[in-house]
Subunit: 197 residues, 2 copies
Amino acid sequence: MSTKQQEKSQQTMQELMDSAIQLFGSKGFASTSVAEITDNAGYAKGSFYRHWNSKDELFLQIIERKFRQYRAARHEKIRKARNLEEAMNIIWDFLETILADRNWPSILLEFTVYSATNEPLRKFMNKSDYRLSNQVFADLVREHMETDFPPEKVGALNTAIFEGYLIHRALGTQVLSLADVRQNAIALALMNGTKQG
Amino acid sequence: MSTKQQEKSQQTMQELMDSAIQLFGSKGFASTSVAEITDNAGYAKGSFYRHWNSKDELFLQIIERKFRQYRAARHEKIRKARNLEEAMNIIWDFLETILADRNWPSILLEFTVYSATNEPLRKFMNKSDYRLSNQVFADLVREHMETDFPPEKVGALNTAIFEGYLIHRALGTQVLSLADVRQNAIALALMNGTKQG
DNA sequence: GTCAAAAAGTGACCGCCGGTCACGATTAGC
DNA sequence: GCTAATCGTGACCGGCGGTCACTTTTTGAC
């Protein structure tokens, strides 16, 4: 059992994180200040830094939690893929759980691109807890590939199409629907992974 | 002929813009401050705001200039496309001139995503002077489409793949080569625009 | 119950940012 | 030669992420 102090600390962290999730979700990462997060939760600014070393660090923790949620939602309806098309559909069911999360796809995109300008942050982001994992995608399709096209590239191309679509969405361009993108991403994977494409 | 004052003003603008292009190009948009731009050019900070209303405004002007350069480079080797594949190759020759411009692709990506969080800026960015134009891409492929798949979607999908690849690159992921992406983007367009894909 | 050590919470403070503006210095045109 | 317009200046503003000496609360050994 933990002490009263540890419990209080845990609760404060939770309150600050909830406040942050709410504010980031409505205003984005860069536009939300640490003072806003603490004010909104009823604490002083200094308290924030008792629990995290930077705004980035809190955001990474939130991303980690988000991805755990997405994965949990996916696991509920997971099934064994019997062929490449089914594997791609499992991947896209997962991607659609992300897209369904209000404007978090945009926020994730914002932070992803921001992280590219910061070396240590970039390295963190390349871990699968914080990113769409090309590796996980590759593992899902690997055993169903009929050609010698590398499964890693199937995963990475799929991620590229998905994130390109996030930009398309974020800018309010309305030429592509989610269905368009999903269909084309799957078709491309099948073209690369099926014989006589 | 312009007055001595106008000439001086023009020259100052040019010097500040050159300084900015250099700094943005090496440090990115957000990490370059207005004071750095003016110091580097030998002016005081206040001078900057005689010529532009904001850092964003200068950047938009630089983008405009960059895109004019890219288009000029493309025009030199332009040729009439005789089929869809040639049209797509013309588009990718153009995209490769952008990719060849040091780390400007990343900077453009940074600013594009940043602009999504700012309504007036987002509207500006959606003009073809500041963005990869899905419309121009669509026009290039339109007359060669053999199916009823909308050419606008061919253009938008191509942009999505390209910008997804920019993220891939910016994060230092090295799974995909430029050749991979180009090949797949063209193949996808042919699949959508050719009979019996 | 007492009391010193440890941890949680605080807010003034730091350097830096984008942006402003009253002020001299320079130029324009009558 | 003189006034008005323009250019260039740098102190200044509010707000940012982050720090730190300080107070308040909790802990656990006695």
